[in-house]
């Protein structure tokens, strides 16, 4: 009889438990029943009890060099094996590089379905109702999955993380990968890190973003200066990343990064729904654009119409003054 939640967990590049994992444990705890975390990776064993501290009753650790860089052919059979062993009612993972790739393949192997990039959940009887944005963020859809287990990937920061309680300990189980080089049909030839400029977008409390209205890549210099004054990060619309004006790692949008700063300043960005999907839960949006009819103004708390260069220059100076005067 399927019960409880299985969280497929992962670590970040710097070896810490991915912050989405406590959020997933929180959802599982609210849904009811035991929460088991499967932690897959290389050099991740030390993070297992972190999951316990957030409320996992059991952590299954699969720590193997073959899991160092995500490859579906290595991760999918392990997740499948654990899912069949744990027999959860619900399986959750983050809408991360791993989750986007792993979840659909796992769903097919288990003969079930998955709702991707979910932002909210509720139980209706024994059915999980998953809510997610669609149509580039213009609409919301609620789904139930007909079979079992019910799988969902969850957008980071869409849900509160579980409470940390250092007195809690999970039962720890180590399992071998059971997957060898010969089982993995793909081969990673090389990896190139393109470090996002400045403060990390995902963590920033303030984001200053530029779009086509900047007129060219040099438009980002004043935005970088402003972000510096405000202690924030710089983002870019997909259009300008495609044009090569700014690194892809700084792209904000449905297929770039979804960000959740307290303040988002959009400069020369028209407000295409693909971009707005990247800031759909931001409460305070400022838009600076020379077009008074730009659709972004409809979602903005503050709207400034005019020449962005002069507006940003004056804004940066005034902000600098206000900050130094305390």
């Amino acid at each position: 009889m399927a019960s409880g939640t299985l969280v497929i967990g992962e670590a970040t590049e710097d070896g810490k438990l991915n912050p989405v994992v406590p959020e997933l444990i929180g959802i599982g705890s609210r849904l009811g029943g035991p929460v088991t975390v499967a932690l897959l990776g290389s050099g991740v064993e030390g993070q297992a009890q972190e999951a316990g501290v957030f409320g996992a009753s059991k952590v299954i650790v699969v720590d193997d060099a073959i899991l160092k860089d995500y490859q579906g052919d290595a991760y999918v059979p392990i997740a499948e094996r654990i899912a069949k062993e744990v027999e959860p009612a619900v399986i959750l993972m983050g809408q991360t590089m791993m989750g986007r790739d792993l979840a659909p393949r796992l769903a097919q192997r288990l003969g079930t379905a998955v709702a991707m990039d979910c932002v909210n959940f509720e139980m209706q009887g024994d059915k999980l109702v998953a809510e997610r944005p669609c149509y580039g963020g213009s609409a919301r859809a609620r789904y139930t999955i007909n079979g079992t287990p019910q799988i969902a990937t969850v957008r980071a920061k869409a849900q509160e993380p579980a409470e940390r309680d250092d007195s809690r300990k999970a039962e720890l189980v180590k399992q071998p990968a059971g997957v060898g080089e010969g089982d993995v049909r793909t081969r990673i030839v090389e990896r190139r890190k393109e470090k996002a400029e400045g403060v990390r977008l995902e963590d920033a409390k303030v984001v200053v973003s530029g779009g086509r209205g900047l007129g060219g890549p040099e438009g980002f210099k004043p935005l970088e200066e402003l972000a510096d004054v405000l202690g924030g990060a710089v983002g870019a619309s997909r259009a300008v990343c495609d044009l090569g004006w700014y690194p892809v790692a700084n792209q904000v949008g449905l297929t770039g990064k979804v960000v959740t700063p307290d303040l988002y300043i959009a400069v020369g960005i028209s407000g295409a729904s693909q971009h707005m999907a990247g800031i759909s839960s931001v409460k305070n949006i400022v838009a600076i654009n020379k077009d008074p009819d730009a659709s972004i103004f409809k979602s903005s708390r503050w709207a400034v119409v005019g020449d962005w260069k002069e507006i940003v220059s004056a804004f940066t100076e005034k902000a600098r003054q206000l900050k130094t005067s305390g």
């Binding site: 393949r105 097919q108 379905a113 139930t144 470090k195 892809v248 206000l322």
Partner: protein
């Protein structure tokens, strides 16, 4: 003779202005905005572009566009043919016109088997209506072939595909033996736009209409149920910062944000 199958579907235009984007909550469908034509899903045309770049290097490559949907999807197939794809297959069967992702994947996989041999299946990373990102990977699992997702570059040589993938903070190059599925992302670049001559030539290219009976399968089981579809309420009171000059507006903005304790 290399053979690439590109998956393509039609969607309501994502550039539809917010004021004209409407949902019929009872029917759980997006209402077509008057005067705004549906378009090919953007990542799908990027997929055709990827196939055409391979064909540019290996001119004897045959590109088949495969689509599952009602009559109007024919326009999407025609667009892909006008871009340079060679032939189309249109699966049009009322039994699966409202298919979920898994029914779609099963039917497409069965159709792909009838189109064998093939070297690559190229799909968009997600469709721009539902944004799920399911079908490409599911087809790979059904067919038991490798899948590489979120590609910005695809090279095909001698039974291997080499893909540059977009990561969160960089890129990785991944290889796999073919046949394989590759899903593409916008970082691959703009799809070429058909010129008038190519649109006219496309009229002569064959589009085969298939039903489930012709593929040889019955309608697969639905796995997911859409319980509700709605437009979320956005209650934002917009304050337009006024001023005689842009400088004045910029300064006022700083003051207002300081008052709101945001800077």
């Amino acid at each position: 003779m290399p053979h690439i199958i590109c998956l393509a579907k039609q969607v309501p235009d994502p550039e539809t202005p917010a004021s004209q984007f409407r949902v019929d909550e009872a029917a759980r469908k997006v209402l077509p905005a008057p005067g705004i034509q549906p378009v090919p899903s953007q990542f799908d045309t990027i997929g055709v572009e990827a196939a055409l770049r391979i064909k540019d290097k290996q001119p004897d490559t045959v590109i088949t566009v495969l689509s599952l949907g009602p009559d109007s999807f024919r326009d999407t197939i025609k667009h892909c043919l006008a871009m340079g794809a060679d032939e189309g297959v249109h699966i049009n069967d009322p039994a699966v016109n409202a298919a979920d992702h898994w029914q779609t994947a099963e039917v497409l996989a069965a159709a792909i088997k009838k189109l064998e041999p093939f070297d690559l299946i190229i799909a968009g990373r997600q469709a721009v209506d539902w944004d799920m990102g399911i079908v490409g990977s599911t087809i790979a699992e059904i067919l038991g072939i490798p899948v590489i997702t979120i590609a910005k570059d695809i090279q095909h040589n001698d039974g291997r595909v080499t893909v540059e993938r977009v990561l969160l903070d960089g890129f990785e190059t991944v290889e796999a033996p073919t046949p394989a599925v590759v899903t593409v992302s916008n970082e691959l670049g703009e799809p070429r736009y058909p010129q008038l001559r190519q649109i006219m030539m496309a009229a002569k290219k064959e589009v085969k209409p298939w039903t489930l009976g012709e593929i040889g399968i019955s309608a697969p089981e639905k796995r997911i149920t859409l319980e509700a579809l709605f437009v979320p309420e956005t209650k934002v009171e917009t304050e337009f910062i006024d001023g005689d000059t842009p400088q004045e507006k910029g300064e006022k903005l700083a003051t207002r944000l300081r008052e709101a304790k945001l800077i």
